[in-house]
Symmetry: D2
Subunit: 100 residues, 4 copies
């Protein structure tokens, strides 16, 4: 099962700046080799369900390993079985309609 997710990991109890922890998650995501795009409020990742979810788990492990006592993560997960659709397909499908 192919999945496109939007992942936003928020460490609590580490002060107001969280960019160090977000960067550590980005490194995990990059190391996974999965397609991904960071935006201002999370990161889109796509790939096989188990691989993608393993990255989400590693993000929690890494951020706790950096000393964050608590994490609250928001995740959107999209699957479809009617046809293949990549992250880029989703964006270009909307952009084509906007261009019409």
């Amino acid at each position: 099962m192919h999945v496109i997710i939007d992942l936003c990991v928020v460490p609590l109890g580490v002060g107001v700046s969280v960019s160090e922890h977000v960067a550590a998650c980005q490194k995990e995501i990059q190391a996974s080799g999965l397609e991904h795009r960071m935006h201002a409020y999370g990161t889109n990742i796509e790939g096989p369900w188990d691989e993608v979810m393993a990255v989400v788990k590693r993000c929690h492990e890494v951020v706790h390993g950096m000393g964050a006592p608590r994490i609250t993560t928001t995740l959107k997960l999209g699957t479809r079985i009617d046809r293949d659709q990549s992250m880029d397909d989703k964006v270009s499908s909307v952009e084509r309609r906007l261009a019409d």
Copy 2:
């Protein structure tokens, strides 16, 4: 790693009523034996990370198996390593403050 999640599975392409699909997810959650509480916009589930995430995956598999071509799920995931905290602890901790 213990996790408390809030799960909201939304099937697309099945019409406007989704209660049949939500009920099928509830049955998967019940069958898991994990602690859970349904509310009007999702279901809280708690337990070991891998068991909880296996239920989320089964919900997608079951809902696709019922014919839904597409699913978009929203998930919150909370972990903490400073102390144990159950779903009921979270609620009662706020209720104690409200009672003060």
Copy 3:
């Protein structure tokens, strides 16, 4: 436009415990007179769009007023124009299917 929301306000930069800030939000929600139900990962609120969204804004104002430098909130918003449906209707519609 009637809306059912699920609101989860997370203050950053205030330490690991956030129940004091969540309780302050609950007081704002109660003061609004809107129907609401707290669960372990947020609060369901229903009512007219503008009234409900005004409460969300006041939660941010109150939590910043308590000294939280940063807030990240997760919100789900459900509207429908085909028929009236309350939070309790949503839950009982799933429960009826589970009982069958």
Copy 4:
């Protein structure tokens, strides 16, 4: 109060493809003149709270106006009072750490 949001509007009861409705939301967002960036699972928007939330409401009105009987939206909302931070600041702050 300045806010950065991540908005994902999902119409129900309109079939499996939702790009027409998402494009209509994009037009509303563009018409608002607010800074925004679309990604594969939503759109980041920033600006004054009331202006941003007015766009969210118009998205629901427009999508219902196109015939969607039901909408479920996921929204993240970030505010901070310790300093100004734009969407681009958030991304570049993580990218600087990744480059180190």
